[in-house]
C-alpha cells in the first residue's frame, strides 16, 4: 500500500489515459458515421424512417447512459456473445453519440432558410444534388461548434464505461483509491486530467462559435 508513491499514482493514471482517448475516438467516429447515415435517411424519408429515427434519438436522449451501458453489456450476453466491457462500451457509446450527433445536425439542416431549398429545387436540382451542393455546405459550417461541444460530452461520458468494468481513467482511479485510500488526491487528479482533456476543446468550440457569429 505504502509503496504507492504520488508519482506511481500519477503514472498509472496517465497510463490509463490512452484508453479514455481510444474509447472517445471510437465512439466519436462511430457516432459520426452512424449519425450521418441516420441524418440522410431522416431527410430523404422524413415520414416513415424519419419517425423511427426520431424515436431512436428520443430513446437515447431520454434514458441515462448508465442504463444504456448496462443494457448493452447484459444484452450482448443474452444474445450469446461473451460480454466484454470493450465491445459493450464502444458499441453503446457509438450509438449514444450517433443519436446526439444526428439530432444536432438535423437541427442545423432544418435551420437553413426555406428559400435555399426553394431556390435550389427551382433550378431543377434533385434532393441528392440539393443536399450535396446547397444544403450540406451551409449546414456544415454551423454544425461545427455544437459538434465540438458533443465531443466534450462524449469524452466526459466515457467515464461511465468504468461502471461495466472498462479500465480507463475513472476505473483506474477507483482501483488506485482502493489501494491507497486517498480518494481526495486520486479523484482530484483524475478530475484535473479530464479537465486538461476537455477544456481545450471547449475553448476551441467557443472560439468557433464566436467566429461564426461574427461572420454571420
Amino acid at each position: 500500500m505504502s509503496s504507492f508513491s504520488t508519482w506511481d499514482v500519477i503514472r498509472n493514471l496517465l497510463l490509463s489515459l490512452p484508453w479514455t482517448l481510444f474509447l472517445s475516438a471510437i465512439a466519436f467516429l462511430g457516432g459520426i458515421v452512424l449519425g450521418l447515415v441516420l441524418l440522410i435517411l431522416r431527410i430523404m424519408r422524413p415520414n416513415s424512417l424519419g419517425r423511427l429515427i426520431t424515436w431512436y434519438v428520443q430513446l437515447f436522449q431520454g434514458t441515462p447512459l448508465l442504463m444504456q451501458l448496462f443494457l448493452t453489456y447484459f444484452g450482448l450476453a443474452l444474445l450469446g456473445f461473451n460480454p466484454s466491457p470493450l465491445l459493450a462500451a464502444t458499441l453503446c457509446l457509438s450509438f449514444y453519440a450517433s443519436a446526439f450527433l444526428t439530432e444536432t445536425w438535423h437541427g442545423c439542416v432544418m435551420s437553413i432558410p426555406k428559400g435555399q431549398w426553394e431556390a435550389s429545387s427551382s433550378l431543377a436540382l434533385n434532393l441528392r444534388e440539393q443536399l450535396r451542393y446547397v444544403i450540406f455546405p451551409q449546414a456544415l459550417r454551423i454544425s461545427v461548434p455544437p459538434t465540438v461541444g458533443l465531443l466534450v460530452q462524449i469524452i466526459k461520458n466515457t467515464s461511465l464505461a468504468s461502471v461495466i468494468g472498462f479500465i480507463e481513467l475513472t476505473r483506474t482511479g477507483q482501483i488506485i483509491t482502493n489501494v491507497t485510500y486517498d480518494p481526495f488526491f486520486v479523484y482530484g487528479t483524475v478530475a484535473l486530467m479530464y479537465f486538461a482533456l476537455c477544456f481545450p476543446f471547449s475553448m476551441w468550440g467557443r472560439t468557433l462559435e464566436r467566429k461564426f457569429d461574427v461572420g454571420h
Binding site: L59, P64, L65, F70, L160, Y187, Y194
Partner: protein, 222 residues
C-alpha cells in the same frame, strides 16, 4: 429458463417504487437548488465584484469540463477523507446542485444578457437599484427566453441522478442494480428501470414546458 423473464423483477416492485421516489426527490431538489445557484452565478458573472467573477468562472469551467461521476466521487469519497463526511443522499444533492449550477449559469446568463436596454433604462428611471433591477426586471424574462434550453438541461440532470447509484444513494438505478444482483435477471431489471426513466423524462419535459410560462414568468409572451 426463458430468454426474457420478468417475473422475478416484477415481484421486487416495492424496491422500484421507493427508488422512483428517491429519484424524483433528488431531481426536484437539485433542479430547484441548481437553478437558483446558476442564477446567482449568472448575476456574479454579469454584475458581481471582479474577484468573485473569477472564482465563479473557474467553478463553471471546472464543472463543465469534468465528468459528473468524478465530481460525485470526489465529493462523497474525497471530501470524506478530507474530513467533510456526508451521507450518500446529501453528497448526491451537493454534486447534482453544483453540476447543474455550472450549466445553468451559462444558460441563464445568455438569457439575461439578451434583456433589451430599454427595460433596464425604464427600471433605472423608476429609481430601482441594481439588485432590484436584476431580480425584478431581468431574471423572469431572462429565464423565459432560455426556458427550452434550461428544460433540456434539467432533463439531463434528471438522467444524471442515475449516477448517484454509484455512491449507493438508493434511487431507481440502485434498485435496478440491487434486483439484478439478487435475481440474476440483470437485463430485465435494467430494462424495466430504463423504461421508467424514459417515461419520467418525457413527462418531466412536458411538465416543465407547461409549468414555466404559467407559474414562473406569468402570462408573458415568449
Amino acid at each position: 429458463m426463458k430468454v426474457l423473464d420478468f417475473s422475478d423483477v416484477i415481484t421486487a416492485w416495492p424496491l422500484f417504487i421507493s427508488g422512483f421516489f428517491m429519484t424524483c426527490f433528488l431531481t426536484l431538489a437539485s433542479c430547484l437548488l441548481g437553478t437558483l445557484l446558476g442564477t446567482l452565478c449568472a448575476w456574479v458573472r454579469l454584475q458581481g465584484p471582479s474577484l468573485l467573477k473569477l472564482i465563479v468562472a473557474a467553478y463553471v469551467e471546472l464543472f463543465r469540463n469534468t465528468p459528473f461521476i468524478i465530481q460525485i466521487f470526489f465529493i462523497f469519497f474525497g471530501l470524506a477523507s478530507a474530513g467533510f463526511k456526508m451521507g450518500a443522499i446529501v453528497a448526491s444533492l451537493v454534486a447534482l446542485t453544483l453540476n447543474l449550477g455550472a450549466y445553468a449559469c451559462e444558460i441563464v446568463r445568455a438569457g439575461i444578457q439578451a434583456t433589451p436596454k430599454g427595460q433596464v433604462e425604464a427600471a433605472q428611471s423608476l429609481a430601482l437599484n441594481r439588485w432590484q433591477i436584476f431580480t425584478r426586471v431581468m431574471v423572469a424574462p431572462g429565464l423565459a427566453r432560455v426556458w427550452p434550453a434550461l428544460v433540456s438541461q434539467l432533463v439531463i440532470m434528471m438522467l444524471a441522478t442515475s449516477v448517484c447509484s454509484q455512491i449507493s444513494a438508493e434511487e431507481i438505478s440502485y434498485s435496478a442494480n440491487f434486483v439484478a444482483g439478487k435475481t440474476f435477471r440483470s437485463f430485465e431489471s435494467f430494462m424495466v428501470v430504463t423504461a421508467c426513466y424514459l417515461v419520467i423524462a418525457i413527462f418531466f419535459r412536458k411538465l416543465l414546458l407547461w409549468v414555466g410560462p404559467r407559474f414562473i414568468f406569468g402570462r408573458m409572451k415568449f
